[in-house]
């Protein structure tokens, strides 16, 4: 789901651009943090992320021409996750618990033993699981410091922000409304004023409010 997709989701960050940006050094830093395959056998990692070429996700060695384009630094971000389907985990856990009960000749297992079995089964299945790769585009406007990422999942954004910090030496901060107020051309006094406001009620003080204890027919209510 990249910027050139028919439809894309964008999370915007702000990351101050270092005054001196050595393009060769940046390309070397990006190559050092390029994507490497997740190996669950080495340390039990279940997630892996790294930079890939925005032109070609199989590219993991970069030179400046791969990254710098006019006033942009553009790079792909790959986030792989190993996961065991919940249904399979449940079935295999039941099978392992049944085997353990038969082996020990008991009818029930304690909570600690069931937890241990669950962890064993999960580790065994994870070792055989294939990663689910996800590809995102990242573009850093080197004139404004705005960073755009084509994905919004929290785990992805956190992994991206940390990798960005490790690579470029500056942590990108998500432009949530409270922080965005500082970056839309307001004078400092106006920023402070809006940050200090308390929530407003759009319902006049004297207006009758629905009684929360009375069940209502929802119009089209979605929970969660």
């Amino acid at each position: 789901m990249g910027f050139l997709s028919a439809s894309t989701t964008i999370v915007r960050f702000i990351a101050p651009v270092p005054p001196q940006l050595n393009r060769e050094a940046v390309a070397a830093a990006v190559t050092r943090r390029a994507f490497r395959d997740v190996d669950p056998a080495a340390g039990g990692a279940r997630e892996g992320c790294g930079w890939v070429g925005i032109h070609d996700p199989l590219v993991t060695v970069f030179d400046p021409a791969d990254l710098f384009f006019a006033h942009w630094l553009v790079v792909g971000f790959r986030y792989d996750r190993l996961a065991v389907p919940a249904k399979l985990l449940g079935l295999e856990r039941r099978r392992a618990e049944a085997a353990r009960r038969a082996e020990r000749g008991v009818e029930r297992l304690g909570a600690a033993e069931r937890k241990e079995i669950r962890e064993e089964v999960e580790a065994r299945l994870i070792a055989r699981a294939l990663p689910t790769p996800r590809l995102f585009d990242c573009a850093w406007n080197l004139e404004t410091g705005r960073v755009y990422l084509s994905g919004r999942q929290r785990a992805v954004c956190e992994a991206f922000a940390e990798l960005f910090r490790q690579t470029f030496g500056v942590r990108p901060v998500p432009l949530i409304p409270y922080l965005a107020a500082e970056h839309v051309g307001l004078v400092p006094r106006a920023v402070e004023a809006v940050r200090a406001v308390e929530p407003a009620s759009l319902v006049p003080a004297g207006a009758p409010r629905p009684d929360a204890r009375v069940p209502r027919l929802p119009l089209e209510e979605a929970r969660g």
Binding site: I10, A139, R152, I176, P177, P199, V203, E221, R223
Partner: protein
């Protein structure tokens, strides 16, 4: 994300929701600016102070009465499908007001490629990417301009004197 940052995200989420609600009112009152038209799309999500208290209003037809009912229950717009038009150029997106995340952004069709970009696939990709990023920044700059306007009002005396009464009157008439 640090605990402090997440706390700010949660406690200040209302700011973006109020912005989106104010924006919907502004759209109802006549839209954007001299050269930009704004429309509310076919899906709006309202949220209460508790994030699990949500109301989705979706589908074709006049949804104002349902939106009004949600607002009168103390909810605010949390997400809304928006259409932005500038001349013949048109963007569509779902704005997550609480976090200022731009979902399902559809930009105008890409313009013509530079001469020479047709033969070289990589040059063509870079040409398209450059145009697309310019489109993304243009749409976000329009929304930033509106957010700045909201912030100026929200932190000023004009909010209580003019904007809030106008918003309350609008909420009352959405039936």
């Amino acid at each position: 994300m640090t605990e402090d940052f997440l706390a700010v995200v949660e406690t200040k989420r209302f700011l973006g929701q109020e912005f989106l609600t104010w924006l919907a009112h502004r759209i109802e009152e006549g839209g954007g600016s001299a050269d930009v038209e704004l429309h509310l799309g076919d899906r709006v999500v309202l949220a209460g102070a508790a994030q699990d208290e949500r109301l989705t209003v979706a589908g074709a037809g006049d949804a104002r009465a349902e939106i009004g009912a949600g607002l009168r229950r103390g909810k605010l717009l949390d997400r809304a499908r928006l259409v932005i038009a500038r001349g013949e150029r048109r963007w569509e997106l779902s704005l997550d007001g609480g976090l200022l995340v731009y979902e399902g952004l559809r930009c105008p069709k890409l313009g013509p490629r530079d001469a020479g970009a047709h033969e070289d696939r990589r040059a063509a990709f870079e040409n398209d990417l450059f145009l697309r990023l310019a489109d993304v920044e243009e749409a976000l700059a329009i929304l930033d301009g509106l957010f700045a306007e909201f912030c100026r009002l929200r932190g000023s005396a004009a909010w209580a004197a003019r904007e809030l009464p106008a918003l309350r009157a609008w909420v009352e008439q959405l039936r």
